[in-house]
């Protein structure tokens, strides 16, 4: 009986092996020649990973068993719900009785807004900030503080002005 070609070779390779082989080889050669150390020097306490496994399994078991609490007097639950609804109704009527004001953004104190921005990491992108900031009333120097030392200025002039000496900087000091 004639066998199919693919059956002749009993060996197999992982999918995409030859595609990644070149990259792997390049990486290895690069590492051999690079001045960057091959090891970064970090270590862990003895048997850390064994203990971690046990610790994690214990945490998961605890996580599984902790949230279920069965009430001793289930009817109390209905009492609490009824009382909450009654309290909410009384509050809602009480608040709306003589009060038409609703809270708005302007009621917030500026200090509260500033504190919120200081304490919370909002992760706004520069585009988002740009959308909110008005264009007028800002100078570039409000954001960027150029720190130009005399030395830098002289270096710049020295490199970019053809006849540096002709500037007669000494005389004008």
């Amino acid at each position: 009986m004639k066998r199919k070609n693919s059956d002749k070779n009993p060996f197999h390779i992982p999918k995409g092996y030859f595609n990644s082989f070149e990259d792997k080889l390049k990486d290895r050669i690069f590492k051999e020649e690079s001045p960057i150390p091959k090891n970064d020097g970090f270590s862990v306490p003895d048997s850390y990973f064994e203990q971690l496994q046990t610790q994690l399994m214990a945490m998961v078991e605890e996580d599984k068993s902790s949230p279920k609490v069965i009430p001793l007097y289930p009817f109390k639950k209905f009492l609490v719900i009824a009382a909450s609804i009654a309290a909410l109704l009384v509050l809602a009527v009480g608040i709306n009785w003589n009060n038409d004001d609703t809270l708005s953004f302007t009621d917030l104190a500026n200090s509260e807004i500033e504190a919120y921005f200081n304490d919370t990491e909002i992760d706004l992108s520069s585009d988002e900030i740009a959308e909110v900031l008005p264009i007028d009333g800002y100078e570039i120097n409000d954001f960027v503080k150029p720190e130009m030392t005399e030395e830098n200025l002289l270096d710049y002039l020295n490199e970019n002005v053809e006849n540096f000496e002709e500037l007669n900087l000494e005389d004008n000091e």
């Binding site: 090891n39 970064d40 020097g41 970090f42 862990v44 610790q55 994690l56 399994m57 990491e121």
Partner: protein, 180 residues
């Protein structure tokens, strides 16, 4: 190692959850630990972040849709956990992320779980100068030996972009190491 699909099914089923989770921890604890450790640098912090990562994976496994590999999903959680850990720490201390990172590198000198020599310490200083993404890419490629395709799935960046960032990072580190 059991196939990923089977492991995911077992993780989602109540009866097999515990055993499957044990397998998951056993398979990935070391790789995830080293990934986190290279971001936070200190062993105790890495331990905290790693435990939080596994607990998050356990609690959210039902929400895992299988759009990426389980491995990439876990690495993504670990990366986010480690980065937000660093941000919280620097916010608490009132310093920038960069300043905090510098302090962490300085602390390595007295860290009992850092056995690096002068060059390895200098390497950490060099890595600390890189932008966050380049730092991640360099560690994932050079030390963790992940493939570009894997890093691409974890960091949601194109392979081309990753290659460019990696080469840039290597160049910067090499020139930093050559400086006196």
């Amino acid at each position: 190692m059991i196939a990923e699909e089977t492991l995911i099914k077992e993780l989602k089923a109540k009866e097999t959850q515990s055993t499957a989770f044990e397998t998951l921890v056993s398979n990935y604890k070391e790789r995830l630990y080293w990934h986190i450790r290279r971001i936070v640098l200190n062993h105790d912090d890495a331990d905290d972040v790693l435990q939080n990562t596994f607990i998050k994976v356990y609690r959210n496994i039902d929400g895992f849709k299988g759009e990426s590999k389980l491995f990439s999903w876990m690495f993504r959680i670990a990366t986010n956990e480690a980065l937000s850990f660093l941000k919280q720490k620097s916010l608490k201390l009132g310093v920038t992320d960069g300043e905090y990172q510098e302090r962490m590198v300085q602390n390595l000198q007295s860290d009992v779980y850092f056995e690096g020599d002068e060059i390895q310490l200098k390497l950490q200083k060099a890595i600390a100068t890189l932008p966050e993404k380049q730092k991640l890419i360099f560690n994932m490629k050079y030390f963790e030996e992940l493939k570009y395709a894997e890093i691409s799935e974890i960091l949601d960046t194109s392979v081309g972009g990753l290659k460019a960032s990696y080469h840039l990072a290597v160049k910067k580190i090499e020139s930093f190491l050559k400086e006196d």
